[in-house]
């Protein structure tokens, strides 16, 4: 039973990883690709590693550390990359109409 649950979790994680890969292929610009890759792969990784914990209960603590580390690093690196891309003015897709970072920067410049 535990192995079945673990297998299902790993499969669900693999599906999220697949959607991350599809997102990176199909999304129109750097920012949307970044968020597709980061969000889906963070969840996918958590599910896969959590599924492994069902197979090897004695690894649980180490696997929790792995999950914690990925939950910390993945969003931070995506955030840093997206900000760097925004700074060097990587173009956005025309469908994107809101640029909150630019608005906030202009507002703080206008206020100061």
């Amino acid at each position: 039973m535990a192995e079945l649950i673990g297998s299902l979790l790993v499969l669900a994680g693999a599906v999220f990883h697949l959607s991350a890969g599809l997102g990176i292929l199909r999304m129109p610009d750097a920012y949307t690709r970044m968020q597709a890759g980061t969000k889906a792969s963070t969840l996918g990784n958590t599910l896969v590693v959590g599924g492994i914990a069902f197979f090897h209960p004695d690894w649980t603590l180490k696997l929790l550390l792995v999950i914690y580390f990925v939950l910390m690093t993945n969003p931070i690196s995506a955030h840093a990359l997206a900000r760097a891309a925004h700074r060097i003015r990587v173009p956005m897709t025309p469908q994107t109409t809101v640029d909150a970072l630019r608005d906030a920067r202009e507002q703080s410049r206008g206020g100061a």
Partner: protein
Amino acid sequence: MIRRAGIVLAVALFGLVFATLTVHHVERQSLPPLAKRYVELVPRELGAPNVITGILLTYRAFDTLGEVAVLFMVAAGVGLVLGRRERRTETSFRDAPQPSRQASEIVRTGAQILVPLIAIFAAYIITNGHLSAGGGFQGGAVVASSAILLLLADPRQRFDQQFLSSTESAAGVLFVLVGVAGLLFARGFLDNRVLPLGQFGTFFSAGAIPLLSVLLGAKVGCELSVIIDRFRV
């Protein structure tokens, strides 16, 4: 249209290459003679469960020393090529302290939390090289990754070059000294049996391998950090 056909052709050719690779692949049921010999020898003679580290830090430790020497030359070469540029950036930082250059709060806070974690993990990898996957080179690379994170969080960070270079030199000298001790008290240069082998599979075991691993980790970590420091914007 032609481009698309070319892509399809390329994918088909790649598929053919991988198919021929996998179709004729037969899973080995036994180790080749050389690997078998090492797998038997390393735990028995060196007392290290991790065969790879046993080979790298005893049988082929002289090669490892050469690799570290190559890395040292790379660090020196990068310093030679990029040394002048660094002085210029130093002045430009002083002339214009650009506030926009500062990393965002998320990156800075993340670095504060992650750098100690990464450092602990690096120490774990380095000191457990004789027991599980890892060792000096890998751990040193992890040390350097925490150096990158520090630089990302604060690009104006200054590393203590004096400390880095003296630690690196001391680690290198001690590594060679351990090797010479092996020449004098055991059966050859960098023989790990200068220290007692201890209980198989425990933390203090496998003779000089953990010591060599720590020295190697310190050396590689310092060298890579120096190289990264040279590449700052």
